[in-house]
């Protein structure tokens, strides 16, 4: 790469990793306990990001062993991604602020 003082790519990766940990920490400490299960299953789905690594391995056609490992990895990670996001959405759909779904007057029924 021209014009850039290229550092060891591993160091850059470490930098990105550390920053991401901090960002994650800041964001997640703000999640209220009510949403801890969706947070967990949603972040769980995100950890299925490994699917893109699996896709490369399966698609490289490097050797039959790597294809087998790759296909299994793609399948496992896809279950994680697809199942994780769907089930999180299913849960989050249920979270309602006030009584009853169709109720237009938010304060009408909840006792204070």
């Amino acid at each position: 790469m021209k014009g850039l003082q290229v550092a060891d790519p591993l160091l850059i990766s470490v930098l990105i990793f550390v920053i991401a940990i901090f960002v994650g920490y800041e964001l997640i400490t703000k999640v209220p306990p009510t949403l801890h299960t969706p947070l967990m299953s949603g972040s769980n789905a995100i950890s299925g990001i490994i699917v893109i690594g699996a896709i490369v391995i399966a698609g490289q056609g490097h050797s039959s062993l790597s294809i087998v490992l790759g296909v299994i990895a793609v399948a496992l990670a896809t279950v994680n991604v697809v199942g994780g996001f769907l089930v999180t959405d299913r849960m989050l759909r249920m979270f309602r602020p006030r009584e009853r779904p169709g109720s237009k007057k938010p304060d009408s029924e909840s006792p204070k």
Partner: protein, 473 residues
């Protein structure tokens, strides 16, 4: 497009995906925006996957399509059919799959780099890459089998009691040493695929041994920790593949799991190592001194009595526990709450952080029954409320309301923050029998003057209450 341009385009999309992941998590922080947040994360995933597919490295698509098709079908079916009460085991198994994926990807990449060396395209396997790949495989394999055991325990396929093998600490230590020793050897002598497989298998075994001795009620900690492991394993694989989006997404998930783990262990007043060493509650019921359970006098009430107590009160707090999930009583409770509210009685719910089998388990069940989330209180909000409350109704919770945590320094749960239901004017405990809770200790709450015991299956008991309350007037 030239190869370099393609790589830049892919990385550009990865940056977009990383931003969307972070925004997605941010939106998960409020119930109003959470659904949008999840959708954003899913979009980010789609962008990252699509970008990867334009990579020049990929020459064959049929295997990818096969894997994606299998995974999608399984994922959709599981996500659609799972019951809300079974959510902890569902999260556990998805998590395990993610970990397993990371382990395999790191292994395949390790083998590929070795092959590059043997055909002379690379001088040697870089030691840092080898070390991180092994780390990722070990952590991923351990996450996979640990999650499977957690799944088995939550699903009732494996005993929920802590399973204590003789000399398990020595076995675990030997296994740990073996894994580290083989890993170090592999870093210096990477061209040993059999050893690589062996270390993965040992790690898988380690995962099983790690979770077996942990009892059911400690599962919130285990699931949180495994969640964090799957993230870290993905990030580690990202180092091996020099793939930034894997690193970012994996790190965020790792942080999330660690934070939840800390919240859970704090709510149990136990250290992480104490939980992970396992065995808590393994001794069974007869360990405590003093009068045995059942010998002390307590007051047993019927549905009719309980309906009277509730119907003529002004404020009620429900305290749900795992028993509510087991009995699937959430809808019945919501119906009961509705009846009480019609009588002008204030109804709230007090949720202990470790009630149930995963963080936020009770909140999801009550949300399923359409209970508005602003009626739910956490530990800090609940305890001042109890003093002002007429009736606290405990449904299938035990250790999280045991006053011994405040008063008895000898008790194994001493120091654990609990819900002070005993400060309410009256307490009604819905319970199957006088049997002890997970920790195996008796609960003084049951013998207090202001406590009434209402025995039976939680769902049936609450339904009977609804019937009685309808007749009251």
């Amino acid at each position: 497009m030239s190869e370099q341009v393609t790589i830049n385009v892919i990385n550009g999309f990865y940056i977009v995906a990383a931003v969307l992941f972070i925004l997605g998590i941010k939106f998960l922080g409020s119930p109003r925006t959470a659904r949008k947040g999840n959708a954003l994360s899913a979009l980010a995933m789609l962008i990252a996957i699509s970008a990867t597919l334009i990579s020049k490295e990929i020459i064959e698509f049929e295997w990818i399509i096969l894997g994606v098709a299998i995974g999608s079908v399984i994922g959709i079916v599981l996500a659609r059919t799972v019951q809300m009460t079974a959510m902890p085991q569902m999260v556990a198994i998805f998590n395990g799959f993610g970990g397993g994926g990371s382990a395999l990807v790191a292994a395949a990449e390790f083998i590929r780099i070795n092959d590059l060396v043997s055909v002379g395209e690379l001088a040697s396997v870089p030691k840092d890459v080898a070390a991180i790949a092994i780390f990722s495989t070990v952590l991923g394999a351990l996450t996979l089998t640990g999650s499977l055991i957690a799944f088995g325990k939550l699903q009732g396929l494996v005993t929920t009691r802590p399973v204590l093998m003789p000399a398990r600490n020595i076995i675990n230590a030997l296994l740990g040493i073996a894994i580290v020793a083989i890993s170090v050897y592999l870093v210096f002598e990477p061209n040993n695929p059999e050893l690589y497989a062996l270390v993965g298998i040992l790690a898988a075994l380690f995962g099983i041994l790690l979770v077996m001795p942990i009892g059911g009620a400690d599962m919130p900690v285990v699931i949180s920790l495994l969640n964090s492991y799957s993230g870290i394993a993905a990030a580690a694989t990202g180092f091996v593949l020099e793939n930034t989006i894997l690193i970012v997404a994996g790190a965020v998930v790792g942080a999330s799991g660690l934070i939840l783990t800390r919240i859970m262990t704090k709510a149990m007043n136990r250290s992480l190592s104490n939980v992970m060493l396992g065995g808590f509650g393994a001794e069974g019921s007869s360990s405590t001194g003093g009068p045995a359970a059942g010998e002390r006098p307590y007051r047993s009430v019927t549905a009719e009595d309980t309906a009277m107590i509730l119907g003529y009160s002004q404020s009620v707090i429900f305290v749900p526990g795992y028993g509510l999930a087991v009995a699937q009583a959430q809808h019945a409770v919501k119906e009961l709450a509705g009846l009480l509210q019609e009588r002008g009685i204030s109804v709230k719910y007090a949720i202990h952080p470790v009630a149930g089998r995963m963080p936020g388990h009770m909140n999801v069940l009550l949300a399923e029954a359409d209970v508005p989330y602003d009626q739910l209180m956490d530990l800090d909000q609940s305890n001042p409320e109890f003093e002002r409350t007429d009736v606290a109704v405990v449904i299938g919770a035990n250790d999280v309301i045991n006053p011994a945590a405040r008063t008895d320094p000898e008790s194994p749960i001493y120091g654990m923050p609990i819900l002070n239901v005993d400060s309410a004017r009256q307490v009604v405990v819905l319970k199957r029998s006088m049997a002890v809770g997970f920790s195996g200790i008796d609960n003084d709450l049951f013998y207090l003057d202001n406590t009434s015991m209402y025995f039976g299956d939680a769902k049936k008991s609450v339904q009977d209450l609804v019937g009685e309350l309808r007749q009251l007037d």
